[in-house]
Amino acid sequence: MEVSLVDIHKHFGPVRANDGITFSVPGGTVQGILGENGAGKSTLMKILSGFQPADGGRILLDGRQVNMDSPADAIRHGVGMLHQDPLDFPAMRVVDNLLIGAPGGLIPRRSEAASAIAEQAQAFGLSVDPRAEVGSLTVGERQQLELLRLLWLGAQVLILDEPTTGISAAQREQLFAALHRLAEQGKTVIFVSHKLEEVQELCTRVAVLRQGRLVGEAMPPFSVSGLVSMMFDREVTPGPRVTFAPGNTLMELSSLSAEHGRIRLEGLDLQVREGETIGLAGMEGSGQSLLLKVCAGLVPATHGRLHFSQEDVTGKPYRQLKKRGLAYVPAARLEEGLISGLSLSEHFLLTQQKPGLFVDRRKGHAIAEERISQFNIRGTSASPVESLSGGNQQRALLALVNPKARVLLLEHPTRGLDIESVIYLWGKLKERCGDGGAIIFTSSDLDELLRYSDRILVFFSGRVSKPLDAASATVDQLGELIGGSGV
């Protein structure tokens, strides 16, 4: 079945998640959709699978325009989506999971469904026991179940959102083989990922999204650096590099290991010196955030030592490290960074050291006004943070960092900001380095990494490259490393 998307628009407030995306996928292909987190892949797929309505645009299946108001609608038109986290009912049996989504009368026909699923599983080389409890299956098996369920419901177009996270290598092989077979049968497979090597291995065409737009399409053989440069912003920003002569060691990681979720860091050595800025590059979820969290004391190291200005702080909790002059700024602004319902001035009051008993609202107002003008925040001291735009929330987050902090750990410090604001905020941040502080930050903007870091570490599924000298590294070099060659 041929799928055509025409001029798809979707806005969330001021954010343009999809900004006029047009492309089509012929039947019998495995189409890769590439893009960084926030590029608009998931939104586009949710629109195509009926989870969300688009604000504008059309969807054509085999040239016929269709309206899909719900996932049930979509599957009736033959479009099924396999979500990143299986959307099944763990407490029920496989066969019942199947029947839930099926149109049918009062009494479910269990045995019929069970034999159908077993038959299909065999045809695709998958192994799913219809009588097993879903909760007892692995993520990979649940994914296979979901795949079979969609096929059983008659899906002609299958959308898979990051399907290889959390499944074993053998299951991945099975999955890829099954997808190839489906494409041979003339079905359309849409494979959403940010893992380049999988896209290379599996897909017969690739579309790349960035900031809600389709920025390019490619056919095999794919060039890794070509795809990476399409995925990441390459706009050149003006302004000279600012560097400071590195001073004493502020923070030292010695053969540090840590584990969180599915990502593992092993035996990391790093010395961060006064005045230094260290950039952490890599696809989202390759271990950069984990490193920041370990340095902040939010995730304990499983092995190795962490020193902060000569003191061994291994195993010390976040609040103690914070008191010693460390600051951590998370990427998720409204989830982790700011408190919806409190005003800007209340946020600044909250971060006061030794505040006394009573809240001095006039002082809070004064601090807020000062930081608002320092950081160019568009809002008033009484504005609730959730009423600020994303960029202003980001500025507020950075404005909340303790002015005395010596090591700043920043997750995507300038995400969502326009270039002028990025340059301005980095000016503020670099002042800290001039005062003997140090910055470790993650970014998905290669130019930002090259421009503002002194050294860059590239992460690839938990492995870390040797520190690159940012002054001499190139975008292509970074792109290769991020794509997994040579780390």
Binding site: L342, E346, H347, P355, L357, S383, P384, E386, L400
Partner: protein, 389 residues
Amino acid sequence: MSDGGQRTTADAGAAMSPSRQRWINVGFQLGAVALAFLVTSIILLVAGAPPLEAYKQIFLGAFGSVDNLTDVLVAWVPLLLATAGVLVTFAAGLWNIGVEGQIVLGAVLTTWVLRLLEGTALSPALIIIIALAAGIVGGALWAAMAGVLKTFGGVNEIFGGLGLNYVATALTLWLIFGPWKRPGIGSMSGTEPFPDELALPTVGGSRLSLWSLGLGILAVILVYVALERTYFGLRLKAVGKNSRAAFLLGVPTWQYGLLAFLLCGGLAGLAGAVQVTAVYHRLIPAISSGYGYLGLMIAMLILYRAIWVAPVALFFAAINIGSIQLPIVLKLDSTLSGVLQGALVLFVILVEGARQRYVRRARLRSTTSGAGPGDRPPELPTPNPEAEG
């Protein structure tokens, strides 16, 4: 902060003038009260009773005589204490359903101390003070159990609190019919009454003690000041609204959660202590009289704004006392008060949701710049089952 309590954080948006907004709010709230009375009236009609006559009887039962009025004030005190307490836990985003059991444990510990010190050389005033303090400790400890279960055991405070409520009731019954039973045989009328000198002094022949009235009002004022004017209150609200962000901003989150439990439990325990020392002069099986649950309802009804505790608690106390004479006059069950109170809470919360939608729509219509929701009244605290340990 101005009159609206928490609401000042959400400034009136540019789209609507503050005075117009205020009138809209008042209109919605009056509408909620009208709806509550309407539904209660329908229920009365179905039951075959004249609604207006019933409301009149409730009014007369509450305010018809000086005796009735003092009874209302007597019921007001534990409501003030319990509501002030749950406002603290609500601020921290916690649903302290266990407040009922905390009142009971306050009463139990007070009774225990009175029994222990009764007949000693200590002056009665001192014994009463120790007994009240013991009540506070009892409530706080019972609350701490729910808090510890949540913080370190991952048990949602609603389930923990509810379970502990049943344990508290069972404990009271066991004490009344076991170790503390009256000479001879235990009875539902409670333990042996304490001598008069071990009771808080009351006004005339009534059960109203100015001391406990003062404690209740003081508690509300303290909680208001703590929540609205102190760093403690600000941090507590931060934890309640987003504990992850509060933690990253440097607030010791689980410690504040536990502290909220302790404070609420202490106030609830004091309510129990007052019931023993001023009202019943003994431990009775229904010592909490449901005041804890009513306190939760009042907190929801006033949308967690401390400034409204006193009048609304008085209103609830009046409904409670006023409905006592319904069975005598109209052959109606006095539980009608619960129907009216429940309907009020439901409709106020419902209408508040409608009001928020209305305001948001009105703003969207009048602004095209997409400035976002400017005035968002405090949202209902949502229980968060994950303890951050």
